[in-house]
Symmetry: C2
Subunit: 381 residues, 2 copies
């Protein structure tokens, strides 16, 4: 019996053979196992290196800029970026004009496709709230399939359950529905957002109450791409009935959860913030905690008084009914939450407004927003 | 307030704009949402289409063959393959010599990196055992982080729990440890192998007993690629102590499971079959059900009598101790399980040998092997 020579085994990339130059920093945690590049140095500059002897032109497209790569005699191409903002960035390699993934990177669903991603590390103390802590109990992120009658198709959601959920069989938990942004999907909050670490750390420290977090795809037709797409402005409109009539009942049948409005929250980032406002403000009998993280709240630009049946026009009624209204945004982006917060303040609407210092329309802003939002919700008041 | 123009939003690929030619078939279920290509016709031929106006040369690398793509005047490249074997195949797009992912495909960790994948559908009745069935209860696949003392690093495993696990709080379950192949990781059995559907379908039909299935990375250093790699022959050697001393205790502390050898099974595909034989046959006090799916059992090539302390030399003792020994392989591959089965037969070792008709060293072989293996294990005998 001879060992068969396998195409697949032969195809394993010899990335581990590339030595790391210590001056270039350490491999990004978003790399696949044993990939030495990309690596990040102490100034947050990233060095990319890809073997592509036949390519004519190679670029790295990251943080809104395209960096031309330089070809070495051995056929490898490399480039070191300027210092990058800390946090998670999608990026692409452009091979002779075609934007593709870096073979050395894990892939992350963003930009409407699988994209490469790189984590530029913060200082350990700043990153602690979203970093795995070996000394505390850990929850689980469960992939749950369900059948959508309205879509006549399989869907799936991811459900975070806190560590104690495994053993406290008589306890029921409040639920946060947490939405991704446009071009992302139900995987984003866990994989890019590190939501499980954030929840684990806050629960262990007593900063937020133990809760269930549900993450679903904020549009129709997840599993099979055969339904016609909606326009950008319509994106996610079909999610409202799916969420209210199918997802919430599925969660409440499957998990030990509290089902009253005091114990149901919704939050989302970017377009997920838009979806959150549209769904919660039009269904205040079902929700009492609301979060918008860099929300795409363009429908409020012409004035908050016309929004959602005039919900903001009676401040006392609103403030009595809504226990948490949170708006957050990065200081380096221009998504308009500052102006909405000012309008809400003028109208007497209680809310929390948070600015993430130094961050753009990216995941570090949203990790920080989640970290600010969690302690506010499901507290008895 | 103006709507900001976002690099990320602008980067969303206009895949949905491509019309599907009905003669080319229907989009693969492995595509990202709304991607019309690749599509698969009734003869199992796949058509790939990628917009790359600046590329000089494009190929599709699939099933051991490279198909040159043809450039159209609009800058898109396309090719239709020969009929492909049914089941799941990894593939790459080769852009001017660089093997990258198809932007329209989901990505799957295989070949030591994130790879594109395409599902060539079988007839519905043949695919039923691994197809989502809306009319039965569904289990969950839970991502569970844990800290490895020996690695001083975070690891994760995926754990399938059957639907009834949510409500039968007094019941304990047997456990199957299920390993991926070389170049794959702990995600493979769920994402490529469709193991949750196979389990759900068998449990609902009473074909196998409800069980927990644990999938972990069969090597050291999952999260961070900074540890030096092992040679191919050593791959996974460090997993034995991790599994025995860390993973199994973690599972038994976290889940309601039976902890005796009668209720502990291990199986794996390709190199995971090698790991399974090495771990179980050297630790028969801990395991009584053993499965090798296209196992890379090269250490048995020189004779089974020398293996694992001579475990096969006393057939009566072995047959009394090991409740299930299963070997499976695809008819179109040459991984030597046939010769090992013959040697086991000559030695009087009870075992089941299964040939998957028409399939290669690929996931359809391993789905079928799992489907054959599950009814054999944890039956009281």
């Amino acid at each position: 019996m001879k060992k068969p020579t396998l195409t697949l085994l032969a195809a394993i990339v010899a990335i581990s053979g590339m030595a790391t130059n210590p001056a270039e920093g350490i491999p990004a945690i978003t790399n696949i196992p044993e990939a030495a590049y990309p690596c990040v140095d102490a100034q947050s500059k990233a060095t990319f290196k890809i073997y592509a002897p036949e390519a004519k032109d190679m670029k790295i497209d990251i943080c809104g800029r395209k960096y031309p790569m330089n070809r070495a005699a051995d056929g490898s191409w490399s480039v070191t970026t300027d210092p990058l903002v800390e946090g998670f960035h999608y990026y692409f390699v452009i091979v002779d004009g075609v934007a593709v993934n870096d073979p050395a990177s894990e892939t992350f669903y963003g930009c409407g496709r699988q994209a490469s991603g790189i984590e530029i590390p913060e200082k350990a103390e700043e990153a602690a709230y979203y970093t795995f802590n070996k000394d505390i109990p850990h929850g689980q992120v469960r992939e749950c399939p369900y059948f959508s009658e309205s879509e006549q198709a399989q869907r799936r959601c991811f459900v975070y359950t806190p560590a104690e959920y495994e053993t406290r069989h008589d306890k029921k938990y409040p639920v946060l529905y947490l939405q991704h942004g446009m071009g992302e999907d139900e995987r984003g909050w866990h994989e890019q957002g590190m939501m499980a670490n954030i929840l684990d750390n806050q629960i262990a420290a007593g900063k937020c109450v133990p809760m269930i977090v549900v993450m679903d795809y904020g549009n129709c037709g997840y599993i099979h791409g055969t339904r016609p797409g909606e326009t950008r402005d319509e994106f996610g409109a079909s999610f409202t009935p799916i969420m209210l009539n199918e997802l919430i009942p599925f969660i409440e049948q499957t998990f030990r959860v509290k089902t009253d409005r005091d114990n149901r929250a919704m939050a989302g980032l970017s377009w997920g913030g838009h979806e959150t406002f549209q769904i919660t403000l039009n269904n205040l009998d079902k929700f009492s905690h609301i979060g918008s993280f860099s929300g795409a709240l363009f429908f409020l630009a012409d004035g908050i008084d016309k929004a959602c049946g005039g919900v903001f026009n009676d401040a006392d009624a609103f403030n009595n009914r809504v226990h948490t209204l949170f708006l957050g945004m990065g200081s380096e982006e221009n998504f308009g939450s500052d102006k909405i917060s000012e309008a809400l303040k003028r109208a007497g609407i209680n809310h929390t407004y948070y600015i993430s210092p130094g961050t753009h329309h990216e995941w570090l802003t949203w990790r920080r927003c989640l970290n600010q939002f969690l302690p506010l919700i499901f507290t008895s008041k």
